[in-house]
């Protein structure tokens, strides 16, 4: 491989720039307080310290993230996009670890400014030094504009742009233009890793100074020729003409071309050239890279995880690893991964099994449904959504989810969350019989009822937004069925 980033010499100067004693003291105090808050919240079992420590540290020193991220010698990688951030980061961390790097990352999907600060504070010692050689940050696509000015970014990875909580992000294109501004501000020494199969991502900031690395899928085996209903951005971003697809892999991701202006998918630097179902419930894939061919086992189901694996491998290519990544090492690292919590996570629940799926937008929901519907038998389902700052207020997107395909396979249905009424309405119009649907807004009661309705030996499928997913998971954690998310 050897796509080397030259280490900018200005950086070491920046790290050693003279700092006033007062500023240094404030920084140290922020680190102490942040770490104490993290320890306290873990000991008191409140929250697992994913964003509270960051909030405390920022209260004391608003520049704590900037100072900590600049202090060490770590490569800073920021991963953003609508879907796949958490899984891509887990895969990239595993690959970087296999390539000899010590990694600090925000692992629990806590990807707003405070979560990012928490992870950075955790990885920094009290003298402000970071032991890790890779600071890997998953950042919410609306927050990324706030994070990148504070964290000097060596590698910036964009997974995809899907319709996700329009009430939070405004229109799709304004989100794209926000990412574009971030990329344009990156120095020439930085590398941008982009999903070449996503027309909106591939065309981000074409004139930016940073080098570009495209990844995608270059095989016809997995895909159709017509974008599914929930597909976004199927018009050419240059001339608005309807894009034509040689093959569609997932939603609007695929091999596209504009018949009007010739805008087409860029050449892929990291290309998946074969996808085969793996006996282990995931996929066997072949990836062509500048560093050779990588046969990988992706242990997580679905084509979206093939994209995540390609993104992670491309991200690893963009890092200057201490030693070149060997295909066999990469394969071992990737195959050893477990799903991130709530990503079709299988949880033994006494005589039954819970399959927990985190669903936050139509594309993720439809991809999850496709996986679940492939499994035999009728499905016991618990569906939960709540209106929170994280989950948004507008659940209109549920009508873009193809629940009509799930309903004929339903064995039982329980609905929960603070927006249970909205979810129940969606299921009624998808064909679920109201008389056979139980609406229980309380999460504990809903879980118990849904498990009671699931015969021993069978699975309960939970489809939930972020907040109810965390709540249901922590109920199961207290019952001893799952380890705390921060211990993973």
């Amino acid at each position: 491989m050897r796509i080397m980033t030259s280490r900018p010499s200005a950086r070491s100067l920046e790290g050693k720039a003279p700092v006033s004693p007062a500023a240094q003291a404030r920084f140290t105090l922020a680190l102490v307080a942040g770490k104490a808050a993290g320890t306290a919240s873990r000991v008191l079992r409140v929250g697992g310290g994913t964003s509270f420590p960051g909030a405390v540290a920022r209260r004391i020193d608003p520049r704590v993230l900037q100072k900590a991220a600049a202090a060490g010698n770590a490569r800073n990688v920021v991963v953003t996009g609508s879907n796949g951030k958490t899984t891509t980061c887990r895969m990239l961390a595993a690959l970087a670890h296999a390539g000899g790097l010590r990694v600090t990352q925000n692992r629990s999907g806590s990807n707003l400014l405070q979560g990012v600060t928490s992870a950075t504070v955790r990885g920094t010692d009290l003298r402000g030094r970071m032991d890790a050689q890779l600071l890997l940050l998953e950042v919410d696509e609306a927050t990324v504009r706030l994070v990148t000015p504070e964290v000097r970014t060596d590698t910036f990875l964009v997974t995809n742009i899907f319709r996700d909580q329009l009430d939070r992000f405004g229109e799709l294109y304004s989100m794209a233009s926000g990412l574009e501004a971030v990329i344009e501000a990156l120095p020439a020494s930085a590398i941008v890793v982009l999903n070449g199969d996503d027309p909106l991502v591939a065309s981000l900031a074409p004139g930016a100074a940073a080098r570009r690395l495209y990844y995608g899928i270059r095989t016809d085996v997995a895909g159709t020729q017509v974008p599914e209903h929930a597909a976004d951005t199927i018009r050419c971003v240059r001339c608005q003409h309807l894009l034509s697809y040689r093959v569609v892999h997932l939603s609007h991701l695929g091999d596209y071309q504009c018949p009007e202006c010739g805008n087409a998918r860029p050449g892929l630097d990291v290309a998946v050239t074969a996808v085969r179902p793996s006996p282990e419930a995931g996929s066997e894939i072949t990836v062509e890279t500048p560093a050779g061919t990588f046969p990988l086992q992706v242990p997580l189901p679905g084509l979206h995880n093939v994209y995540n694996a390609a993104a992670a491998l491309a991200g690893a290519m963009a890092l200057s690893l201490p030693r070149p990544l060997e295909p066999a090492e990469a394969r071992r690292a990737m195959a050893g991964l477990r799903p991130a919590f709530g990503r079709l996570e299988e949880i033994p629940a006494g005589e039954r099994q819970v399959v927990l799926a985190f669903v936050k937008n139509p594309t993720a929901y439809n991809a999850t449904l496709r996986e679940v519907l492939r499994r035999p038998g009728r499905k016991h389902v618990l569906a939960a959504h709540s209106n929170t700052v994280v989950d948004g207020e507008d659940f209109a997107w549920l009508w873009d989810v193809d629940l009509e395909q799930l309903v004929p396979q339903l064995a039982s249905l329980v609905i929960s969350g603070t927006r249970a009424e909205e979810v129940a309405l969606r299921f009624k119009y998808a064909g679920a019989r109201p008389a056979a649907t139980q609406v229980l807004p309380g999460r504990s009661a809903a879980l118990d009822t849904a498990l009671n309705g699931t015969p021993p030996g069978e699975s309960l499928y939970i489809f939930a937004g972020y907040t109810p997913m965390r709540e249901l998971r922590s109920i199961m954690q207290r019952r001893g069925w799952v380890p705390p998310s921060w211990k993973e």
Binding site: R45, V46, T388, T418, A424, Y429, G442
Partner: protein, 296 residues
């Protein structure tokens, strides 16, 4: 009197171009509420380049989209304008949402970008504003029966629409911004054209409006069509009540401060304490109250 089965003919304009926020839920609502009554329906989809036979349509849907998609639709709509105007003058029912609403007006001038010419069926002019109106909405409507009905849903638009004397508002805003955040009007009406900023699936949550559109559409086709058979609307009523409650939460004057406070609270909130008892659900609602986006 016809012996053929009763059929309502729906035309869905720009189903892929204008369908940004679950708008197809409106179509699902109309289809299901026909099916549950044993009324047949046909759906014709007409995207760019297709000119449907609108004289054979009883109910026409025109939904929302982003500025780019709306521009593409406006260019194409010129080819459909004649038949669409004729259908409207013949009292075909049109239900238009957000960008679809703006396209039926005289013009839309986005904050950045050239103005878009509308069909001019509605006496309405729209200008892009510096901020978006985002949030739950409650509207009081009287569609001519003398009966006040409440319409509820979600708005997300930067356009400010002002109605001229030739258009009536769909209703008066009880909570939310509506047409422009100033004059208390929401949506527009002309003959059997009903336009609103309430995006996403407004019809499932407001079955009275879905049924009003259906009965007007059936009256368009069958002059002697009587009242629709009643349906059980319990799930719809619960969703309507919940949405109305969200719309009528007290507006947060200290929105920024409250949002910061709720961020702090969220940071410290333990997943292990939010176990979803009734009390905790209440807490989540209070937190939600502080995240209200728009105050009217």
């Amino acid at each position: 009197m016809t012996t053929a089965p009763i059929t309502v003919r729906i035309c869905h304009l720009y189903p892929s171009l204008l369908s940004v926020a679950g708008d197809r839920g409106n179509l699902f609502a109309l289809m299901q509420r026909c099916a549950w009554r044993g009324i047949r329906h046909s759906v014709t989809e007409a995207d760019v380049g297709v000119v449907p036979d609108l004289a054979q349509s009883d109910l026409i849907l025109l939904h929302g989209g982003q500025d780019r998609e709306m521009t593409a639709a406006a260019l194409d709509l010129a080819a459909k304008a004649g038949p669409l105007r004729e259908a409207i003058e013949a009292d075909a029912v049109v239900f238009a949402v957000c960008a679809g609403y703006q396209l039926l007006g005289r013009s839309y001038s986005p904050a950045d970008g050239p103005p878009i010419q509308g069909l001019g069926v509605l006496d309405a002019v729209t200008e892009g504003g510096p901020t978006r109106f985002i949030g739950h909405v409650a509207v009081e409507c009287d569609l001519g029966s003398g009966e006040q009905r409440q319409l509820t849903g979600f708005e997300n638009h930067s356009g400010r629409t002002h109605l001229g004397s030739g258009a009536k508002p769909l209703g008066r805003v009880l909570a939310g911004a509506g047409n422009n955040g100033e004059d208390g009007t929401e949506g527009a009406r002309y003959r059997e054209v009903y336009a609103t900023y309430l995006h996403g699936p407004v019809l499932p949550k407001n079955p009275w409006l879905a049924d009003h559109l259906l009965s007007r559409a059936l009256a368009h086709r069958y002059r002697d069509f009587g009242p629709l058979a009643p349906l059980t609307n319990q799930v719809e009523a619960q969703a309507h009540a919940a949405a109305l409650g969200l719309a009528r939460r007290p507006a947060g004057k200290w929105r920024a401060a409250a949002a910061a406070a709720s961020r702090m609270r969220r940071s410290s909130r333990a997943p292990s304490t939010a176990d979803g008892t009734a009390m905790r659900t209440g807490k989540a609602r209070i937190a939600g109250k502080e995240t209200r986006w728009t105050s009217h």
